[in-house]
Symmetry: C2
Subunit: 205 residues, 2 copies
C-alpha cells in the first residue's frame, strides 16, 4: 500500500501546521493563562489526542510555533549584521528587536512562551537547548569577529558580554519599566560597550 | 459596643496575615500554575470570600506577601550600602541578591509573583508603582552619591545605568542561562561600570 503512507504523512504535516497556527492565534487573543489544549484542538480542527501525541503541554506547542519562525539554528542562520562597525551593528539588531516587540502578533506569543518557560523546568531545558544556546552562538560569532579586528579584548567573557548587551532590553520589555524606543536601544549598546562610568564619552564619540 | 470593633479588627489582621503566609507556603510547594484561591483559603482557615474581599487575584495576594517583607519604601528603606566605594557596594548588593535567590522559600514565591506580573496588566501596574519604582529610587540615591563624589558622570541617565547594572542578574536567574555565583555578580558590576570594551582593565584595576 505505497500510497497510504504519503497521504497519512501529508495529513499529519497539515495537522501539525494547523495546530501551531491555532496556538499562536489563540494565545494572542486570550493570553497564556486562558490558553487551553482543547481550544487549540477546536481551532485547528483536530482531536485533543492528536496534540497530546506530539506535545506534552501548551507551552511545548508554543515553543515549536516560535521555533518555526525563529529557528535559532546557527548553521542556517544569516547571523548578525557585520559592517565592521560593532556599535552600529548591535544597534541595528536591538532596533530590529524593538520593532518586533511592537507587533502584538509577535509579542503576545513570545510573552506567553516566556511565561511557560519560567514556570516549567522541562520546557525551560528545551528552550535553552533549542533556542537560547544556538541564538547565543550566533551572537558570539559577531563578538569574535570584533575581537579579531581588535574592537574587543581577546579574553572577553563572551557570555557576560552578551548578558550586558541584551538583558536590559528583555527586562524593560518583560516588566514594562519604560518605553521601548530606538533611543533606548542605542543607549544600552553604548552603555554595554563603554560602561556607565564613561557613558558621556561614548555618547559624544 | 466599643469592644466589638477592636476584636473584629484583630481577627481581620490575623486572617490577613494567615492568608499571606498560606499563599507564600503553598506557592513554594505547588508553583504558580497550580496555586488556587481555594487552597489558600483552606490553608489559612478562612472562607474564599474573605480573600476575594481583599484581593482580586492570587497574583495580588503574592504581591502583598512579597511587599510585607520587602517594602521597597524609599523613606523607610535602609538604602544601599555606602562605603564610598561604588564598585564594592554594588558587588555587596548583587551578592546579597544571589544569596536570596538560592533560598527556595524566597525564590519560588518571587518567581511566581514575576510570572503573575508578566501576564496581568493591572498587577503589573501595581507592582511597578508599589515595588519597582520605590526600589529604583533607593538605588538611584546611591548612584547620585557616586555622582557627587565624582565617581560617575553628572549627566548619567540613571535609569539606563540601573538597567545595565541589575538586568543581567535578573535575566540569568529567570531563564536559568547560567549559575548564579558571586563571581558572576562581581563580573557584571565591572562590565556595567566599565563596559565590555574595557573589561580587562576593569578586572585588573
Amino acid at each position: 500500500m505505497p500510497s497510504i503512507e504519503p497521504n497519512r504523512s501529508r495529513r499529519s504535516a497539515a495537522s501539525h501546521t494547523a495546530i501551531l497556527d491555532a496556538a499562536v492565534e489563540l494565545v494572542a487573543e486570550v493570553g497564556y493563562a486562558r490558553l487551553s489544549i482543547e481550544a487549540i484542538a477546536t481551532r485547528a480542527g483536530v482531536g485533543k489526542q492528536t496534540i497530546y501525541r506530539w506535545w506534552p503541554s501548551k507551552g511545548a506547542v508554543l515553543l515549536d510555533a516560535f521555533l518555526r519562525k525563529n529557528t535559532g539554528d546557527s548553521e542556517n542562520s544569516p547571523g548578525l549584521p557585520d559592517t565592521g562597525d560593532l556599535d552600529a551593528d548591535l544597534k541595528t539588531v536591538m532596533r530590529a528587536s524593538i520593532e518586533e516587540l511592537h507587533d502584538p502578533a509577535f509579542e503576545k506569543p513570545l510573552r506567553a512562551l516566556t511565561v511557560a518557560v519560567l514556570t516549567d523546568d522541562a520546557l525551560a531545558e528545551e528552550y535553552l537547548r533549542r533556542f537560547e544556546a544556538p541564538t547565543r552562538e550566533v551572537k558570539k560569532q559577531r563578538l569574535r569577529t570584533a575581537q579579531e579586528s581588535g574592537q574587543l579584548p581577546d579574553d572577553l567573557d563572551l557570555d557576560a558580554a552578551l548578558d550586558a548587551i541584551f538583558s536590559p532590553l528583555t527586562q524593560r520589555w518583560l516588566f514594562r519599566t519604560g518605553p521601548l524606543t530606538a533611543d533606548y536601544a542605542d543607549r544600552m549598546v553604548e552603555v554595554a560597550l563603554d560602561g556607565i562610568r564613561r557613558t558621556d564619552s561614548a555618547i559624544s564619540r
